[in-house]
Subunit: 198 residues, 2 copies
Amino acid sequence: MSLTEIPGGAGAALRLRAGQAVRLINTHGSQVVDTWCLSAADTTEYVSVEHTRRMLFRLFPGEGDTLFSNRRTALLLLEQDTSGCLHDTLFACCDHWLYEFYGCAPEHANCRDNFIGALARCGIAPTQVPNPINFWMNVPVLPGHRLALHAPVSKPGDWLVLRALKDVVVIFSACPMDITPVNGEDRTPKPVAYEIID
Amino acid sequence: MSLTEIPGGAGAALRLRAGQAVRLINTHGSQVVDTWCLSAADTTEYVSVEHTRRMLFRLFPGEGDTLFSNRRTALLLLEQDTSGCLHDTLFACCDHWLYEFYGCAPEHANCRDNFIGALARCGIAPTQVPNPINFWMNVPVLPGHRLALHAPVSKPGDWLVLRALKDVVVIFSACPMDITPVNGEDRTPKPVAYEIID
């Protein structure tokens, strides 16, 4: 399948049958992609970072890790990851309340609206917005359990593969954040790309 | 107001008007209390650990910290905390799927059912089960971002005060976990107590 581009700041949803996979490419290297996964059979079941941490006993997922649902079912496998960097699971996605907090215009794009909008285009009305996995997002744990938002350390062309272990819907949002350096020191969201692989 | 006891392994919900507070007492010192808070005006708004971390830039809340909702509204204040220990926000509450994973009987008590049951007794049917704050739960971050379940370091009689900043419903569950040492090395859930203070 050919590559599909997601513009910087935008979202997309795609369906995977069990056994299929999606390859997500960080074209420019600096773009965080907030990622969710819902069970296609029952969209109230979703990849839950709080359940995944408890099953893995690790703060951040890495290559080879299974991603578990809020019913402790294995939904996805993070099969490959060229970056080897941290992928944040600690911070909620950005939302219009965060941009209001920063004094931005009310119509500022945000990952929460991208999640809801991408699912609406699939005919799905989610009952909640789970905490995403924020691929390539660099949130180090500092002394005293302090957290910080640093620019990504991933490189242009880094990619990862998510393998579906059940029939799922995967939602990506190329995070629109342009206030903090989370998407690079130039604070400019950039496109990413994906392809479905069998 | 007099003390209300929550039996070990059981849950309770209570309403606080803005300005009221609840004092929660770890009678035996070793009991983890999974805690949720919903806005009384709209119970789809709740204290969100993933939003609170992002607003505090800290992994765990401590004395003096505001607890934010999934709409980035200040709902609660952790006004006092005699323990000074970590309060886990990383792990989902226990649920029947976890006890099935451990091979327990299907009717094993769990915090998820305690949350739903306590709210049902208040006439509230929650649309989701947020990640709780697990008061006194000792989940250290080890080298390599590994996580562990250790016995609590809190002492008998430790207490904390949660002050309502809006009208809220607070839900406590004296965690029924008896497989891991999360509620002490004797793996025996014990009662805790609370009182509403004005």
